[in-house]
Symmetry: none
Subunit: 376 residues, 2 copies
DNA sequence: AACATTGGTGAATCACTAT
DNA sequence: GATAGTGATTCACCAATGT
């Protein structure tokens, strides 16, 4: 019997002062302008899929309106990069302002732009937690045979600052990946088939992202009820997945066509019910049990003997829940670390007791039994 | 039969004025100084494995309390991003000067530094051709369960300029990859076992790269007789592979110990061993599918019901790919074994879902469908 | 000889709470 | 803010030893 059964339901979040946020809406304007209309520290996650190419076509902010003669290729390139960098730094700064202190940022890009974005992320004060590789199971081939098949895109996951206590649902990710830690390389098909949104028979958006990608991101790094903002909303993949997973969302998008498609799509995306939303929890969210409680409750009698797995050490349980091993005494953890000369020790798994059948079992088993018996 | 045999003989090169180059030698000095001693446009490829600027905190302990041997060498320490950027731009500029017009650059890094390096590569006038993901088959886990397992590093491949007629041995790569185009994600084990160089019983260099990685790079982007320069030579992986493949090399390295180890190693010039060849020839990973992927991909919706063949038990699919059957929850395998009180259970064949025609089908059918749809 | 068990390790930005 | 206490946390591969 595992630990899972003991997990309490998600604690109810204290009424968030978010009543004035434009939740679950598309702000039909430039993303920087849109973010400026929001208060500081109100967003749990920003997911951004910014323009990749550097052919800006007047779309983006140009710090000064000077026109550069495209005589020198290198200079022209530099100007283009500088313009893109300025735009990137501007939206990243706004995004960081509206992020809560423990909020996090996801950005996706390809080799055309991701290095510039990543540098700007670091310079803006974010703290990179991982870079993630989206491996496409069905990428477009390199028709000319001149390069390697460009079969992946890169995502950056960063917290607002180095000290942030960001959300990472470790256990849910491990469960999702067949009880192995989720790695930084994800194999996910590109968006096609029924999922690919069409408008007048052609694809509605050139770079629609697969829902599976957003699903994993939101499941990993947000909690139900969190607010996710997407500055480049497009056809609303972020909104659709957020709604399904019981997260609130805010989108920024200037193109009317995209907004229409996104609104239809999200309306059709049904939220999951609460039981389906539940994910595997880490044992640390289970109520704590002090070793002394087991003694009080009679699961172990004062005077009982505890052993390490190899029976090299023997300790005696005392009435107050401390244990003594030779001259060393104290908590199960402290004695364990002292006699091993280790910096730390989890006494629950280090110490064993002799069960009625003579087998040695970790005292953590007793804790589980106690939890089962005392859970309301 | 390896791939080597398929390589065409070197096309006759126009009399190369390279008689005065320090071929197949280690220049025992700072790499910028070393490159300055070389003439313009004399190198076919630069492969660089620069310091990553890891910025590690305190010690990291494994679950068994042993200490992780961190990279704490002085050569990896930089005060600020600005210092690191200046260093990066300086060596990239020298490297570009000594590259032939059709030469190309490879750089490897992790999320700590690769974004800054990539930005500098673009700003220096190089033209990025691909970014390549080295997926590690055996990375170090994330011991604390705080992030995704950092399971890859990133390489950038760039030509000297946009107009360069760079070398890409498309046919050799396709042959190496079972007659499929070589993709931008490469699965290669980290360097260990016999290949890992030791000095006094401990690793000679903290970040020795696997020969398989260099093998693929040199095979793809150089011709026999080409000159490869490595500004951060370390223990000479680049030199060893270059020699085996009939390429000339030049290394830059300041540390005497690394130079000694590298010289011995290259002199020994071991032929590729069988295991290394195998890793290079069969880069495809086993098509393993986690149950959670089916949920992410929409093959099963959270909230869907699963049944055993006799419909005695019913379980609900949850968002993270766990299932819940009454009070029991966990993976499809664990829940199956628990409710049957069996030591183990193959969830794929035990659990069934109701197909659109009402028939009960094992979820393994979904896995097969998914594999067919996503097989790379 | 063949197989099972144990121990070691790899470019890592690796905890949280109460006092 | 610093310190101390509690206790959560690992995958693949290789080498050496044990059965």
């Amino acid at each position: 019997m595992g630990v899972i059964e003991k997990i309490r339901p998600a604690t109810v979040k204290t009424a968030a002062p978010q009543a004035d946020l434009p939740l679950n809406q598309i702000l039909k304007m430039d993303c920087i302008e849109a973010m400026r209309s929001l208060p500081d520290a109100c967003i749990d996650m920003v997911f951004a899929d910014p323009p990749y190419n550097l052919q800006l076509g007047g779309d983006l902010l140009r710090p000064d309106n000077s026109k550069v003669d495209a005589v020198d290729d290198d200079w022209d390139k530099f100007d283009t990069f500088a313009t893109y960098d300025a735009f990137t730094r501007a939206w990243l700064a706004e995004a960081r302002r509206i992020l809560k202190p423990n909020g996090s940022l996801w950005v996706i890009g390809s080799y055309h732009n991701i290095f510039r974005v990543g540098t700007a992320v670091q310079d803006a004060g974010y703290w990179i937690l991982n870079d993630i590789v989206w491996r496409k199971s069905n990428p477009m081939p390199n028709f000319k045979g001149t390069r390697f098949t460009n079969a992946h895109e890169t995502l950056i996951w960063a917290s607002k600052s180095e000290k942030s206590k960001y959300t990472f649902n470790y256990r849910a990710m491990k469960t999702l990946n067949d009880e192995l830690q989720m790695r930084s390389d994800w194999l996910i098909p590109i968006c096609g088939g029924q999922e690919r949104l069409k408008r007048n028979g052609t694809k509605a958006h050139p770079t629609q992202k697969p829902e599976a990608l957003l699903y994993r991101i939101l499941l990993a790094c947000t909690k139900p009820g969190d607010v996710v903002l997407d500055p480049f909303f497009g056809t609303g993949t972020t909104g659709a997945v957020a709604r399904r997973l019981g997260r609130d969302w805010i989108g920024c998008e200037r193109e009317d066509v995209y907004c229409e498609v996104a609104e239809e799509r999200i309306a059709a995306a049904l939220p999951l019910d609460e039981s389906a939303l539940k994910t595997m929890q880490s044992p640390k969210s289970a109520p704590k049990v002090a070793f002394g409680q087991l003694v009080e409750a009679g699961y172990l009698t004062p005077g009982a003997k505890l052993f390490d797995r190899k029976r090299q050490f023997e300790a005696v349980v005392r009435a107050d829940g401390s244990i003594a091993c030779g001259a060393v005494d104290g908590s199960i953890h402290k004695v364990g670390s002292t006699i091993q000369n280790a910096p730390s020790c989890n006494g629950w798994t280090y110490w064993h007791f002799a069960a009625s059948d003579g087998a040695m079992k970790p005292i953590d088993d007793l804790r589980q039994t106690y939890l089962l018996a005392t859970e309301p």
